[in-house]
Symmetry: C2
Subunit: 365 residues, 2 copies
């Protein structure tokens, strides 16, 4: 059977992301920018990273072996991580391996201001779960600078310094329903993003999901308006969401079978794979005849985004599906095995990370 | 000549202050509350302190020798002090002498967020001028806890914790034209006011001018809504403004002859007294016949608020003026001498305070 040659890494959601690129003033992450990066990771090669801002600056820094930094944050209010956090860590890890200085903040002040979580509670949660979990997902504990917002006086001072650089309407554009807690959280986050540049201006990349784009915009507005520090405009990568297991736009906590937590019981998560939405035809006969629709298949999206590292292997599944040579049951079973293995691996690495928390570079101020 | 027996400490402005009491939800500072305080100071005895909130609580603490605290702030953006600062210091001093623990913060974060003054610059100004000036005005350098907002992590953390306890409309009521810098400044100020109670709930009194009333209201609203700390509602005293030398409502920086700075050249300030508005009649003859109007006399107000400590002496001037036995030139000359002496004294004390800055209790965190 002849198949159309379409982008095998594409997604049915691509149209939505095109809109996001346009409305949020991002640039598309395409072949041209991809080629500028050595050994791009799975998310980049497959355009799960779909948009960016000023990423050329990071590519140049890598190429010319110049200093650059990476910044991401941990929100210690959540009790578990999700696949979006995994993608962030993979991006941080990639840039870290290309020579970037990685900074990971625990947003304890934001948790206090927006979720009423005490600083003590936030620290406990971060030390017991979030930091070792980020290490289990791939961060180098010795090379990564972890810090708590509340203990970083420089970040806190920057929040005050920037406070008059944005109008309340601009804050409103970020958060919609505005309150003072959200305002000081945004200001603190801007302080975090610019913190790596306080001693010396340098490119900084912030890997995020598209929902974080307004924060980047606010930060970039501050940099444009406030010349005192000679900050370089921060760069960003934007990655797609992992679709809900039932095929809707985004995983939702109200539907436990729609999403995957990290960690999750390996057996349970395997079971979820077996009821996940695929792009299969109504009957096996039809599928053999017409082929499946990997572009509409959540299992295939999980393979692509998370579970299958080898491009040839992924490509083969895509082709076989389109040709009706592989059935959904087979893919679900494979996904169940891979997801189970991922969780088992995570658990092992998490245990090890917890035992080695003394080796983690948690910044003192 | 028979004179009406009116309150010799009264003021033509009293009607305005009655309105302020009503619209800001203060209680009047009257004979009844005055009697609860041992050895009331000049400002209290003469009802320059015109309003208060929950001041009975402070009177009780003094009477029962229970712990209480005093809180005031220094705004390090100003280059000089004014007579309003002098009144604040006198109130702090009074409560300090009655056993209160005095806390004086330098609002360096507020100066950063609302006036774009760097923390370094604010510290320099406070150490070189504001702190020794407050000591020269009467604070005990060893017994007073001075601190910088930016260095007080507890205050800063409280600002985040309280950030969702007030609505943006409530912030707007305080500041009118709102921006994020003002919002975080109010939150930090609330942190300051409640800081003395963090380790242990206790009455706290904040002596202020009526323009600061909205801040107190915001702080008291937070306390009412947020029960976690068992904070006691902060108390406040409100004192009148010193009228403009030309008789208008408030001193204005745009009219150098309308106000008195601290410090000011002793000879210059003496000259200002000679052109200050009095309550005299058009001619000496009329004044001898009809008497003067001390209630409308700025010189008399300066005697009452600042220059004459002895009640009998002040009363005598009042009576003589009403009876036409003293002319305005005489009072102006007296005011010139007293004001000159005040400035000379201030300069001496300021010099001494600067030499003894090493003895000042500036809190380390």
């Amino acid at each position: 059977m002849a198949i159309e040659r379409i982008d095998p890494w594409g997604s049915v959601l691509i149209e939505d992301y095109q809109k996001i690129i346009e409305s949020y003033g991002m640039e598309p992450f395409n072949e041209k920018i991809l080629k500028k990066f050595p050994k791009p990771n799975r998310l980049m090669r497959r355009f799960v990273v779909f948009g960016h801002q000023d990423l050329d600056r990071i590519a140049d820094a890598i190429k010319n072996k110049k200093e650059f930094a990476i910044l991401t944050g941990i929100m210690p209010s959540s009790e578990k991580l999700h696949l979006g956090n995994k993608m962030v860590v993979e991006m941080v890890k990639y840039f870290q391996e290309q020579g970037g200085e990685a900074n990971v903040l625990v947003a304890d002040l934001e948790a206090l201001a927006t979720r009423d979580i005490s600083l003590e509670e936030a620290e406990k949660r971060a030390m017991n779960f979030h930091i070792p979990a980020y290490i289990a997902l791939g961060l180098d504990p010795k090379k990564t600078n972890f810090y708590f917002q509340s203990k970083n006086k420089i970040v806190r001072d920057l929040a005050y310094e920037f406070s008059t650089k944005l109008t309340l309407n601009e804050f409103r554009a970020i958060y919609g329903d505005l309150n003072a807690g959200k305002i000081i959280s945004v200001l603190t986050q801007i302080g975090d993003i610019l913190y790596p540049q306080v001693k010396k201006s340098k490119p900084v990349v912030v890997p995020v999901g598209p929902d974080q784009s307004p924060h980047l915009r606010a930060c970039r507005d501050v940099v444009r308006r406030y010349k005192k520090y000679n900050f370089i405009l921060p760069s960003a990568t934007y990655h797609k969401y992992t679709p809900s297991l039932d095929g809707s736009m985004k995983m939702s906590k109200s539907q436990p079978n729609s999403y995957i937590s990290i960690p999750e019981d390996p057996e349970e998560v395997a079971k979820k794979m077996l009821i996940t939405k695929t792009g299969g035809q109504k009957t096996i006969e039809e599928q053999k005849k017409l082929g499946g629709k990997p572009e509409e298949c959540v299992i295939f999206e999980l393979f692509k985004q998370h579970l299958i590292e080898d491009d040839d292997e992924l490509n083969e599944i895509y082709e076989k599906c389109k040709q009706g040579k592989i059935m959904c049951g087979e893919c679900k079973k494979k996904a169940a095995e891979l997801m189970k293995k991922f969780m088992e691996d995570f658990n092992k690495k998490f245990k090890k990370a917890k035992e080695e928390m003394n080796k983690v570079n948690i910044m003192k101020f």
